[in-house]
């Protein structure tokens, strides 16, 4: 599954340099500012010059569809996510989020339609997509029986970074996390909040242009949750696109734009302010409830297939 010589797609020296230049952070994040996505795209164009980095959106889905048997989990969704954007991908359980994310990360092929992520086609270049993105799942992707340092090295190796580069990244990451003194502690022994932040850093070890975070803050205390979002802002400020799902509706307000999936389709897409205005709601939570509630239980007897389980035959 890993193609070691395919390094250039996993690691972008241009991006690393640009990140330290801080071109975007000087402008700061434009929270709740309409058009943030468009501006990020413009900035990203200056920033990136790699082969896969030609200024196209970080994610571009066109009628992306996935069916399991006669059940349509994702129904012809189309949307773009700009470079450097914090994009909230919301929806009720079973609305099709997980299936969509699995397609966008190259883990599941679309039934029809398609998407390009980090410059690669998710159907025909799935391996390249996997190497060009970062991914952090609901629960951690860390090995608990390895130390923090070993986890970073492992993932750096998986993504094909050179040893020297891994050493540099490890030192930098541990320092940024304030974990220098605990680099050799087993991950298992670290407090949850640290593990969560380490998992995020590990997902970013190869400096991907886009990182997918699937309920990254589930179950953590309110302070850590907010520290985590500051890491998200920092990543976005250096040009990384952040594609994030959450069940915390206050976190939806922190996104540049959000989409709300209902029954396999994108029922709403816009900045938090735009959605609140168009639904005449005071919070994103209200928007979400209005969209998701009506069809949630009554009209939907068929349970969702758990997305990526083998369809039909297995049950």
């Amino acid at each position: 599954m890993i193609v070691p010589h395919d390094r250039e797609y996993g690691h972008h020296p241009e991006r690393a340099r640009d990140g330290t230049r801080g071109g975007q952070s000087s402008g700061g994040r434009r929270r709740g500012d309409r058009g943030a996505g468009a501006r990020s795209r413009g900035q990203a164009r200056e920033a990136d010059g790699g082969p896969a980095e030609t200024g196209e959106p970080a994610v571009s889905a066109r009628r992306l569809t996935r069916r399991f048997g006669d059940f349509t989990a994702v129904d012809a969704i189309s949307f773009d996510v700009g470079r450097g954007e914090v994009f909230g991908f919301l929806g009720a359980n079973g609305a099709g989020k997980t299936t969509a994310i699995r397609m966008l990360t190259g883990l599941l092929s679309p039934t029809s339609g398609g998407a390009r992520v980090a410059g690669h086609d998710v159907a025909t270049e799935a391996e390249r997509v996997k190497r060009a993105i970062g991914y952090m799942s609901q629960r951690f992707s860390l090995y608990e029986d390895l130390t923090a340092r070993e986890n970073i090295r492992l993932y750096g190796g998986i993504y094909g970074l050179r040893d020297r580069h891994i050493r540099e990244r490890t030192a930098a990451l541990l320092e940024r996390l304030g974990l220098e003194r605990h680099g050799d502690a087993l991950v298992r022994s670290l407090p949850l909040g640290w593990r969560q932040k380490l998992a995020f850093s590990v997902a970013m070890v190869h400096e991907p242009g886009i990182v997918f975070l699937d309920e990254p803050t589930s179950g953590v205390d309110p302070i850590t949750r907010r520290q985590f979002w500051e890491m998200i802002y920092e990543a976005a400020a250096t040009g990384t696109t952040v594609f994030v799902t959450t069940h915390y509706m206050d976190e939806a307000e922190y996104c540049d734009r959000i989409s709300i999936m209902v029954d396999g389709r994108i029922a709403a897409l816009g900045t938090p302010d735009e959605l609140k205005r168009s639904f005449e709601a005071s919070t994103v939570d209200d928007v979400f409830v209005r969209l998701a509630r009506p069809r949630q239980l009554e009209d939907r007897p068929a349970p969702r297939p758990p997305g990526y389980e083998p369809p039909a035959g297995s049950r």
């Binding site: 302070i223 922190y254 994103v284 979400f288």
Partner: protein, 327 residues
């Protein structure tokens, strides 16, 4: 405690009474000297993040785990001495989905009913409002249900033997905002029927649905109060601050000389001023003038009421139990 009436109300009449409960796993104190009481008919919530000790506490209350020190009674029964009696009277819904995935919805219910020596029919009226919603799928394997449906089935299974108290460990974790509201509506109905309900959750916004809550972190109960009261006890002036550029605003506020803490809160920032007892309105005017004179001409500042999360974060840092502390 000395008068006979106080004795009666404090002792036998509590739905749950826990005294100095401690449980260690290796050198980690999962529960550290925890004491509280829950009244009959109360909907009582334990609010705290993963690793706070909620599950350990619930496992002790449901006789599945024995504490190192302290004592606990549920429905007046000792959780160690009276475990066999107690088990028949408690409904427990563990955090992990714990039904039989290969049995159908109806088979799961029948199984749990038979374990408790009863039948689906005998317990039907209690579970009916919930069961009606999953009845169309009664022949479906439990493992093939959607998340929300699984949760409802698990609740039915926990209720089928007509327990006198319901103990639910994080029933809404990982559940979307809409299904969470619906689940709490169900709990409110059960509570209205007189059932005592003890529930844990990491979602602070669910606290308002409880009669009283205990904030719990690192094995310690930080505070027990009605949800409203928790916010009212917030010790310092709290202001809501808005401006277009939220991230830069956050950094600017942290540099403000009187800042105690600044956190994002949905679409605004919550700024806590270090000057205890100062008039929030005056502070708000002063801060707004400061921000508008600087880089934030559109800044809006107004006093806000502290919520559960504000209180929780203040208690966390006040107790020296910051997020970074090793457990």
């Amino acid at each position: 405690m000395t008068s006979p009436t106080a004795e009666a109300s404090a002792g036998g009449d509590d739905a749950v009474a826990v005294e100095a409960l401690t449980k260690r796993f290796g050198d980690v104190a999962a529960l550290d000297d925890v004491t509280f009481r829950i009244h009959p008919g109360e909907l009582f919530g334990f609010i705290g993040p993963d690793g706070a000790g909620k599950t350990t506490l619930f496992r002790i209350l449901t006789t599945l785990l024995v504490a190192d020190r302290g004592m606990a009674t549920v429905l007046g029964l000792d959780v160690v001495r009276d475990l066999w009696t107690l088990r028949r009277r408690v409904g427990y819904m563990p955090g992990r989905f714990s039904l039989y995935p290969d049995l159908s919805v109806r088979e799961n219910l029948q199984f749990f009913a038979s374990v408790f020596g009863t039948t689906l029919e005998a317990g039907y009226d209690l579970i009916e409002p919930i069961y009606r919603q999953i009845e169309p799928f009664r022949d479906r394997r439990a493992g093939a249900l959607s998340g929300g449906m699984k949760q409802k089935l698990a609740l039915c299974c926990a209720l089928i033997h007509r327990p006198r108290i319901l103990i639910l460990d994080e029933p809404t974790t990982g559940v979307d905002a809409v299904s969470r509201r619906e689940f709490w509506d169900v709990l409110a109905e059960l509570r209205a029927g007189g059932l005592t309900i003890v529930v844990s959750t990491p979602y602070m916004d669910e606290a308002d649905r409880c009669d009283r809550i205990a904030l719990i972190q690192n094995g310690r109960v930080l505070e027990i109060a009605a949800p409203d009261a928790v916010g009212r006890r917030y010790p310092l002036p709290l202001l809501g601050v808005r401006a277009r550029d939220r991230y830069r605003l956050l950094q600017a506020l942290r540099r403000y000389p009187h800042a105690h803490s600044v956190y994002p809160f949905g679409e605004e920032l919550h700024y806590t001023d270090a000057r205890a007892g100062a008039d929030p309105l005056t502070l708000a005017r002063e801060l707004r003038a400061h921000l508008r004179a600087g880089q934030f001409p559109d800044a809006e500042v107004e006093p806000v009421r502290a919520g559960i999360e504000d209180a929780f974060m203040a208690l966390m840092s006040g107790a020296g139990a910051g997020a970074e502390r090793r457990s």
